[in-house]
Each structure stands twice: as C-alpha cells, then as structure tokens.
Amino acid sequence: MDDFIIRALLAGVGVALAAAPLGAFIVWRKMAYFGGAISHTSLLGVALGFLLGIHPLIGVGVVCVVAALMLLGHRGKHLGNDALLGIIAHGALAMGLIVASSISGIRVDLMAFLFGDILSVSTEDVYFTWAGAIGVLAVLGFIYKPLLSITVHRELAVVEGVNIRLIETAFVLLLAVAVALSIKVVGVLLVASMLIIPAASARSFSTTPERMIFLASVAGVVAVCLGVLASLKLDWPAGPAIVAAATLLYIISAFKKPA
C-alpha cells in the first residue's frame, strides 16, 4: 500500500474515532444543526488563516470556538435556536467566501476545504489529527457522566450537583475542535455528516449509550475505509465518498428495528 493511502486511512480513522462519541451526543441533544453551523463558520477560519498567514486549521479552531461561544451565550433570547444557527452559519459562510476571494496572489484551493482532501494529508497532518482526537476523547471521557446526565434530564442533573454551564461549554468547545480536525478529511460542507451519520446508524443496534458510541466508532471507521477504497478504485472525490459510505451504512441500519 502506498504511503499516502496509509496516511489517509490513519487521519480518517482518527477523525472517525473523535467524531463518534460527540456525534452520539449531538443526536441525543438534537443539535445536528449546531454541528452544521459550526462547520460552516470554519470556512471563514480557513480564509482568515490564509489572510493572516497562520495555519488554516488554527484559524478554523479559533473561529469555530468563537462561533460556538456566541451561540451558547445567545441562547434563549428572542430568536429561536434554529433561526440563530441559520444566521451564524450562512453569515459566516458568506464572509468566508468574501475573504477568500479577496486574497490575491495565493491560490486558495477552496474545493479542498469545502470537500476535504484526505488523499493529500501529510505526516504532520496525521500527528495533528491524532493529537487532537486523543485530546478530544480525553476531555470527553472526563465530562462524560455529567454530560450524559444533563442530556437525560437537565434539572435533575442540576439538583444532583452538576455544573451545567461548565459541562455544556466544554462540550461545545470539543465540538469546535473536532470540526477543525475533520476539515482536511471531509471538508467544511460534509463535517457535520461525520458527526451525525455514524451515530444515527448505531442507534437501532444499541441498548445503552456506551454501546451506541462504540458502534458509531465502528461505523465511522468502516465508512472511512470504504470511502478511501472507493476513491482509489473509482476515482471518486474522497470526502464525499466517505460520507456516501456512511450514508449507505445508515440506510442498511434503518431496516433494523430498534433494540
């Protein structure tokens, strides 16, 4: 196997493993559009990264965190969450496109950021992805029980002594980091699918939250492998191929009655 395939698989698996548990929480907490909105803002991060001459992924991380905190801080005001998410997602996407178009001299490969470019990841990217993934999983493990408790029943969790603000902020920041990690692999437009689809596929085979997370990880890894394979054999774009594979797994799982 060529080195670039191994790097692609390693990076993809790292992303899938970090995305699976976060995705399960997104599905449980009905935050699918939250993930989508954060990922749309990341294009602005990429563009700003180029503009300021810093690593685009750092730009993405910063912009995602800011967007996430804005969403969190604005909750429960006069607008519904869905409208707010729409404003942030599309406003930031538009600004990202404007900033990207104004950068002259440097060729910004927009397609690579919109749809990912997993076959071109460097060794450095692999380290970066795995360090990020392990960091995300470690923090998530630390806040896992209180986060699950909040997800089941907020007020019960408060009475039982959970610091809701702290845990929810930590979760949203983890999401932002995971989105930044996934950009290279599946691209801005498909990031949310890596979070949601494997978790959704795992639902009907699960009897406990932990089992759902485990199966979502398996589904994510399988989707990455199938997608990279399809990309090599059929010359499909890799990011969309991974998402298509994940979607296929979901369709198969939809025939199974919930456990």
Partner: protein, 260 residues
C-alpha cells in the same frame, strides 16, 4: 420559629416572591419541611406549586425572600416528568447509575433499591418500554440511591391510573417510615394524597391555609378553591383497605391499613 423546630428543619422557604414576565407567580410563599415529615403542596393549576419547589431546589432564584437548606442536605428529586428522547438507548440500570457517584451505584445497591420500590424485574428493560407507573418508581429509585435526607416529588403520580396512584402514595409513605426522610411533594389530585400526608399546604400564589389534611379540608378558603363537593369528599377519605394492589395489579390481602 422556635429552636426545637429549627433543630430538625431540612428545607424551608420564607416569603418567596417570584415574578416571571410581569406575572407574579408567587406573592410571598412560606413553607418548611422537617425530618420525617410528609408535606404536600396542593392548589389549582397556575398556583405556583412547581415554581415554589423549583425555587426551593435552587433551580430558580426568588426575587425576594429566603430559601434555607440544611447544610450538607442531600436532596432526592423527582421531576414532573421524564421523557427520554427516543434516540437515546438507555436501560433502567444505566439510568440509575447516572444520578450518583460510582461508589454509590454498585450492582447490589441498585438491585436492592429497585426491589424497595417494587420493580426489581425491570432492571434491564429499556427506559422507553416501561409503563408510566414503573417510570415513576425508577425515578424514586434514582432519588433513593443518593441516600437523601429529603425527597422532593413534583406531581409524583402523573400519568398513573387511580389504583396505581394510591399504591405510589403508599410506597412514598413506606419509604418515609423506613428511612425517616422528609418528603415534600406537589399534587393536584387531592383525594388520594390527603390520606398519606402529615401536613397540607394549600397554595394559590400565596399560602391560603396549611395544617393537618382534615383541618385543611374544612378551611373556608380551601372549600372555596376546590368546591364544596371535593372538599367534603376528602374529609371522608381516610379509610381502611383490606387489600391493596401491587404494580402488576395483583391483590395482596394482608389486613393492610393506613397509619396516621
């Protein structure tokens, strides 16, 4: 308040005022629960019952007035309803573990607590597949695992049929007697709850009257609030059963009678 009462006071509210969106929900409500006492808050819809409970639990802050919680008080809370999202797979066992530190959630302890509330057989069931009455018992079990000093129950019999309601109130009474916990609950179904209560607080934005169930049921404000007929039927209610039904509807003839 004299010292003998204050000594075993668990939780109290004093002159609590809460206004939400220009609507004065509570106009200075006071309420206290002492060790081993069952206090029930009754009142019509919109009387502020749940708001008062939420304030006493620290879930909302009163605009004025005081909330007293005995230092180190452990609260077992049972919210009005738990509707678990269908996307989350969850067994009863796993649900119970969530509310307590891992050390308190051992298998033996969970099993014992489920048996205490009469649902030992559903430990591995999915939360979405159990009945309304079983769900209430699971919630009580989760509260009990915390070894609470006080149980706070918001409409504990919601969505449970009439025989199931009496059964649940009797269970709460039994838990109180065995564990010596204080109980604070909210209810609007008066008939059954009165028989299992030490003290009734009648709330309609302020405390209209309070005291022993029988005395309260004759109080003019109470009669006015709930109507002659309802109030009259409650005064007659405390009576003896020669049997009772368990969760499965099976009849147990033990010459059971209410205490108190």
């Amino acid at each position: 308040m004299d010292n003998t009462i204050k000594h075993n006071l668990l939780l109290s509210a004093e002159g609590v005022k809460i206004t939400i969106n220009d609507n004065e929900i509570l106009q200075g409500a006071s309420l206290s629960v002492t060790e081993g006492e069952v206090v029930t808050v009754v009142g019509p819809n919109g009387a502020g019952k749940t708001t008062l409970i939420r304030a006493m639990l620290g879930l909302i802050h009163p605009d004025s007035g005081n909330i007293y919680r005995r230092p180190g008080l452990t609260v077992g809370y049972m919210p009005q309803k738990l509707s678990l999202d269908p996307t989350m797979p969850m067994t009863v066992n796993r649900f119970l573990e969530l509310g307590v530190p891992t050390a308190l959630a051992g298998h033996g302890r969970r099993k014992k607590t489920l048996e205490e509330v009469g649902i030992g057989h559903i430990a591995n069931s999915q939360m979405q597949n159990i009945s309304g009455g079983e769900m209430q018992r699971v919630m009580i079990a989760r509260a009990l695992l915390r070894d609470p000093d006080i149980l706070v129950l918001d409409e504990p019999v919601q969505g449970v049929d009439v025989t199931g309601q009496a059964e649940l109130y009797r269970l709460i009474r039994k838990i109180k007697n065995n564990r010596g916990v204080g109980v604070l609950m909210v209810s609007h179904d008066l008939h059954v709850v009165m028989a299992e209560t030490d003290r009734v607080i009648c709330l309609n934005r302020h405390v209209c009257c309070e005291g022993h169930p029988e005395a309260v049921s004759r109080h003019p404000e109470f009669v006015e609030m709930f109507g002659e007929q309802v109030a009259g039927s409650i005064a007659l209610y405390p009576h003896h059963h020669d049997h009772h039904h368990d969760v499965h509807g099976e009849i147990h003839t033990k010459g059971h009678s209410h205490d108190g």
